[in-house]
């Protein structure tokens, strides 16, 4: 600015600013260094963050402020930047960065780097400036929040399982306990009716067992890997039959060993499809058909319910996206055919060995 310019009260010229004073009131670390990484400037913020004085580090290489294991990597990044065309960028975009105090304390940091041409020096000689802050506290809060979110997810999952247990096992055992209570009196009066109710009682008990074992699998999904798909599907059929008004039949044909991920995905697809049948279809009958050959696996789940319009159904609706993802993950083809008023058929075909 020249003397002829009008001075306004709010404008400050660069020369009026004491640059060093300005840099020293900044809470972040501001460190300037040359092409050889020799430290030329170290502000008060840097002294606080790195627990040393400017005298301790001036003239030394930047390496003294880095954890040993990063020195080589940092040098190559640094040279790339110093000689490259980009004038400034944030550091640690690919992975979090760490810095080290002179006394060896390591901390997570966030930093940006910029370069300036140095007037009066030879071409290509640059001044580099790093602005850095210690993000230990922020990381701690982030970790705490992540941990809280995980805890909440666990609590929600447990509540869902408790609800399922009540809705399935408790309901079934309540019914069974009433029948068992009434049975002695009933049998005296009407043995035929008694026998019929005894059969019902046995079915309820088997159903409760299947429901409980199906829910145990949700508590320990790793158990799916060791189980036989045929047993899993039989249990699922018994469980859905017990907890809903849909009678689920199962037909199994052939035998072959399946890769664990194929087994888990096929089970999850059957589970999703049958949950839809139980909750939304209004069906009275459903069938699981599993055909295993050394080359191909066919899994079909069909029902006689109300069906839905596949053209207007959103992918998130009815867990269709979950089924599609599961099928894609094991390279299976998934086909869902539904006719309004006629029911739905879900068909999965995959290779026996991926």
């Amino acid at each position: 600015m020249t003397g002829t310019s009008s001075k306004t009260a709010s404008a400050l010229t660069a020369s009026q600013l004491n640059l060093e004073e300005l840099l020293n009131v900044i809470i972040d670390a501001v460190i300037a260094f040359d092409h050889d990484q020799r430290i030329l400037f170290f502000n008060k913020g840097a002294e606080t963050i790195f627990r040393c004085t400017a005298e301790d580090v001036l003239g030394k290489r930047l390496d003294v402020l880095l954890p040993g294991r990063y020195v080589t990597l940092h040098r190559s990044h640094f040279t790339e930047f110093a000689d490259g065309p980009i004038a400034s960028r944030a550091m640690g975009e690919r992975r979090p960065i760490f810095a080290r105090t002179l006394d060896g304390h390591e901390f997570p940091a966030e930093a940006a780097i910029a370069k300036l041409a140095r007037p009066g020096k030879r071409a290509g000689d640059v001044l580099l400036v790093v602005v850095m802050r210690d993000i230990t506290e922020r990381k701690r809060v982030e970790d705490e929040l992540r941990e809280k979110a995980e805890q909440i997810a666990v609590v929600n999952e447990r509540s869902r399982l408790a609800r399922d247990l009540h809705d399935a096992v408790t309901q079934t055992l309540f019914s069974a306990s009433i029948i068992a209570d009434v049975l002695p009196r009933l049998w005296e009066r009407n043995p035929d009716d008694g026998r019929k109710r005894l059969e019902e009682l046995r079915a309820l008990n088997r159903g409760a067992l299947a429901e409980m074992r199906t829910l145990l699998l949700e508590l320990r999904p790793a158990a799916l890997i060791d189980a036989d798909l045929r047993d899993l599907l039989k249990q699922l059929a018994a469980s859905i039959t017990s907890r809903s008004r849909v009678h689920v039949d199962i037909e199994i044909d052939g035998q072959t060993d399946l890769a664990p991920d194929a087994k888990v995905s096929l089970y999850r697809i059957a589970q999703e499809a049958l949950n839809n049948v139980a909750k939304h279809s209004g069906a009275t009958e459903a069938l699981i058909a599993l055909s295993l050959s050394p080359t191909l696996v066919h899994l079909i789940i069909e029902d006689n319910g109300s069906g839905f319009d596949t053209a207007v159904s959103k992918p998130t609706h009815l867990g269709l996206d979950i089924m599609n993802e599961r099928a894609a993950a094991i390279g299976a083809t998934l086909n869902i055919r539904s006719v309004l008023g006629k029911g739905t058929t879900v068909k999965v075909i995959c290779a026996s060995r991926a």
Partner: protein, 131 residues
């Protein structure tokens, strides 16, 4: 009942309606109640709509209500039922024992957890019958 068998006076049967979304539970409840000569099951309901319809058309004295019956509002569950019949007695049933307080606070006459023995349900039925 001897009086009924003699044909002099029709017995006063306590009319009950059963509301639970699972058929097996309704079937078991019906079996239990039909063993008791003082009670009669007049209707079954699998959701809130069929329950309200049942109350309207069959005029029950007592409702055995699953507190988690689909279609019931989260709060004031008994309001619509009592609007149809202010004298209706309600026995709340629930898989979740923790529903006891809420159901009694909202005006259910008794609460039976589905973990309790069936005798407790019969006791509740008889005690409401004499009210």
């Amino acid at each position: 009942m001897r009086i009924a068998a003699a044909g002099h006076i029709a017995p006063v049967l306590t009319r009950t309606i059963l509301a639970d979304h699972q058929a097996k539970v309704r079937s078991a409840l019906r079996l239990l109640i039909e063993q008791e000569q003082a009670f009669q099951v007049v209707a079954e309901a699998h959701n809130a709509d069929s329950l309200l319809n049942g109350i309207l058309h069959t005029n029950p004295h007592i409702a055995l209500l699953d507190w988690d019956l689909p279609g019931l509002p989260d709060m004031h569950k008994l309001e619509l039922m009592h609007r149809i019949d202010p004298d209706l007695k309600v026995i709340a049933l629930c898989s979740r024992p923790e529903a006891r307080q809420a159901s009694l606070a909202e005006g259910a006459h008794a609460f039976i957890s589905k973990a309790e023995p069936p005798d407790n349900l019969l006791h509740a039925l008889y005690s409401l019958r004499t009210l």
